[in-house]
């Protein structure tokens, strides 16, 4: 252990400081171009959250460029200047240094600080994404083998393949799948979410320019996975309104139309409803939060869940509309609920079930 003593300051190797200067200069140039790049991933930012994500990419790129230069340039430099001399005796050995605690301290602490900064930056952007305003327009995206379908709450019909969005409109996309897992990737928006059957995932985007952009399936979904594409058509507000109207907007579905008139909702008994719920509904529905899905969503807060202000058929969550839904059943892309006839329940039963659901939401 006698060889532990070295004087690194006096003998770092020939050309150490010029090489260090080279690393600084090369890194500065790379950082300059990365930090000022308008398209750091080579794609235009067509809408939120792309600008925020791009700023994270720029920061990551700068840090990565610096570390890359340090590792690669020093490694090659050490490899050249410390190569074994041609005429070295057989037992020629290197500088017998075992460690340098000060150096090790700094090369642990400096990366740690970089990581903390990066983590804070990432968390901040993550937080922005979670709290972005959506909800001015809500669209449901449903993946299937092998394509995308879109439903608009105020449209009766389903739009296939093309997602039309008005520019500058905060939009919530609720994502699910009808069969297997797909990926809903908007490269020009730098965002994606898996389309998982039985699960609804939400992303929020705001288109910033008009145009046609790609939707790419990013989770393997079967034999034609590579061919599974869709299109986002971002239009001006006026064009979007025109398109929307041409699609046959009902404009009234927010009220859900008339409820099942024969059901006397107010006369229901919650306790009778609870027993009925156990026998008829629990195979598919829990009484917990919306997200506690079995086949359908949890119904614990069907009347007062701010995240899900509408029923599956687009109607407002009033007792009358819920009763109508139980009466009519529901068939759609995310599943099927049998009608009252199939379930063998009469209007009194529906009233009791509705009363029970109302009592749940009050808890």
């Amino acid at each position: 252990m006698a060889q532990r003593v070295v004087k690194p300051k006096t003998n770092l190797g020939p050309g150490f400081w010029p090489i260090t200067a080279l690393i600084v200069v090369v890194s500065a140039i790379m950082i300059y171009f990365t930090a000022t790049s308008p398209w750091p991933v080579g794609l235009i930012p067509a809408g939120e959250p792309a600008p925020a994500t791009d700023s994270l990419f720029r920061f990551l790129g700068c840090v990565a460029a610096f570390i890359f230069n340090v590792v690669v340039i020093y490694t090659i430099y050490f490899g050249i200047v410390f190569r074994r001399p041609k005429d070295a005796p057989p037992h020629h050995i290197g500088v017998q240094i075992h460690d340098a605690p000060v150096l090790e301290f700094w090369w642990t602490v400096i990366p740690t600080i970089l990581i903390i900064i990066l983590a804070i930056f990432s968390v901040k952007i993550w937080d922005d994404l979670q709290n972005t305003q959506g909800d001015v327009l809500t669209v449901e995206a449903i993946g299937y083998q092998f394509g995308f379908q879109f439903r608009y709450p105020k449209l009766a019909n389903v739009v296939s393949g093309e997602l039309h969005l008005p520019v500058n409109t905060p939009t919530t996309v609720q994502i699910t799948s009808r069969d297997v897992i797909h990926g809903f990737w908007l490269p020009e928006f730098r965002v994606k979410a898996d389309m998982v059957p039985g699960l609804i995932t939400t992303i929020r985007i705001t288109p910033l320019q008009t145009g046609t952009f790609r939707i790419v399936c990013s989770e393997f979904c079967g034999v034609a996975h590579g061919a599974m594409h869709g299109t986002v058509v971002v239009q001006s507000q006026a064009d979007f309104a025109k398109w929307f109207k041409a699609q046959g907007a009902t404009g009234t579905s927010a009220t859900g139309g008339a409820a099942g008139a024969a059901v006397a909702v107010s006369s229901g008994s919650a306790s009778a409803g609870q027993a009925l719920f156990q026998s008829k509904c629990t195979a598919c529905h829990s009484t917990g939060e919306f997200s506690q899905k079995i086949v359908g969503p949890g119904l614990g807060h069907i009347f007062n869940d701010p995240a899900h202000p509408k029923l599956v058929n687009g109607a407002a969550p009033t007792p009358a509309n819920v009763a109508k839904l139980i009466h009519d059943g529901y068939t759609g892309d995310i599943g099927t609920m049998p009608s009252a006839t199939v379930n063998a329940i009469n209007n009194t039963d529906i009233a009791n079930l509705t009363a029970y659901l109302v009592s749940l939401s009050k808890k």
Partner: protein
Amino acid sequence: MATLAPGVKTGPYHAVLDHIHPEPTSFIRRYIFSIDAKVIGIQYMITGGLFFLIAGLLAEIIRAQLMSPTGAVVTPATYNAIYSMHGSAMVWMVIIPLVSGAFGNFVMPLQIGARDVAFPWLNLAAFWMFPVAGIILFSSFLVGAPDAGWTEYPPISLQGPPGTSLWCIAIFLVGVSSTLTGINFAVTMLKMRAPGMTFTRMPLFVWAQLATSPLLFVATTALGAALAALFIERTFGVPFYDPAHGGSPVLWQHMFWFYSHPAVYIMILPVFGIISEVLPTFSKKPIFGYKMVAFSTVSIALLGFTVWAHHMFTSGMVPWLQLPFMILTMLIAIPTGVKIFSWMATLWGGSIDWKTPMLFATAFLITFTCGGLTGFFLAAVPADYHEHGSYFVVAHFHYVLYGGSVMGLFAGFYYWWPKITGKMYNETLGQLHFWITFIAFNGTFMPMHWLGLMGMPRRVAIYDPQYTFWNQFASISSFILALSMLIFLYNMLIWTFRHGKPAGPNPWGGRTLEWMISSPPPYYNYKKIPAVLAAPYDFGNPLPYIGLDAAPGAVEATPTAESHPVPTH
């Protein structure tokens, strides 16, 4: 008689293996169903090497297919089977068996001064599960190979062809094999080190194996459970994962990645160990910061258990849960950075002999750093929302697994080949292999970074024509990469045996135990268990590394056919 340095404990050596059996005379007992860890290690090398060639050919079919945006070679259905089998085989049948089974079995007992592993018969059983599993896996091509990727996410894998069930069986079996290997290795390293080999004198390859073994027997069990459930659901329809019947597809993802993220460290930690052997030996310097390198290995192994869900940022899990997984993932960069810097500092001031293993080990520093840096891009959740499921991920894990594990394995092969065969390989061919591999590797996988960032998803048999140029660039590079393997095979398997000079016990001037005995090592490694007198890689230390007569109570091994005596502890 030399003595152990004052204050050094004698280590955990037990006298159990002073009693040895004679070398078997039957060929089958000696080389086929052998209990000699060195033979088993070579068997792992041969089997894993064969599977590497098959899985590599599958990779070349993938790249050939992607020469054209409409798919040049096979139908999409066949393509899906090919890339799924490529990934499954490379992970389970090539890299994991090679890094732990092959090098762990051959090198680790030698380096700790043991005559064999703790449970030789268990070792034999663990090995033979591996080729059986490999044959089951590849035979799935006969009935319809699994086609949903090596991750086999349900529900798509529930609809997969019959071969998917064979896939479950094969991976389960190879999982049992690596679980047994992990237990065997852990006991060997904890209980059978030579006298004087304290924890701080263990070679770093041994440290790496020690940190890996709990990953093998803890994480693999989760995979086994997940595979059993997938098999049961496919066969008997019990709904674990199918949401249409109340299952949860995300459950599979959690259980799969609870194994498969630690599996990344199973594949890379032993390679870290190889690098930590090669760099000091060819720089003729002690490894820089021995304790920090060892400690960082252990901390990476521990942290590796806590980050699995970073593969699932877009899977629809609760959003807040993404943050702890992101931060824990980023923390892994700290011990990894310590390692990279320590290796660089090992080069500094060295007397670097640029032999082939050293070239591969140094290239590993560069390519693995690239893989680590892109890991950062993937760990940052908002960036991952863009990158997940794209070719950027493919680029990242090939930089880690090819630029990391395979580069390190090449370094290990060139480094220990003289020890294994007793003969030297051809240095010129080795360096030629290195340069072609290094350049072609970067040509193959570098373009995938920007292909992914620009919107190309992974696992596609056809793609948007705007990506044609860089795909063709990657494909042609990959063909060159495949050709470079021929140089390697010729050099190691033909040239070495025909023309190689005798290597002698220590061709590289190494200062760990395996270089203290003849090449190839004798049947029971050490006739007398040596006593370790100093730290490894301490090239400037005038004291000898080992004393052959120093172990207190070291008994010369005498072959006997009697039954085992009761071990005394």
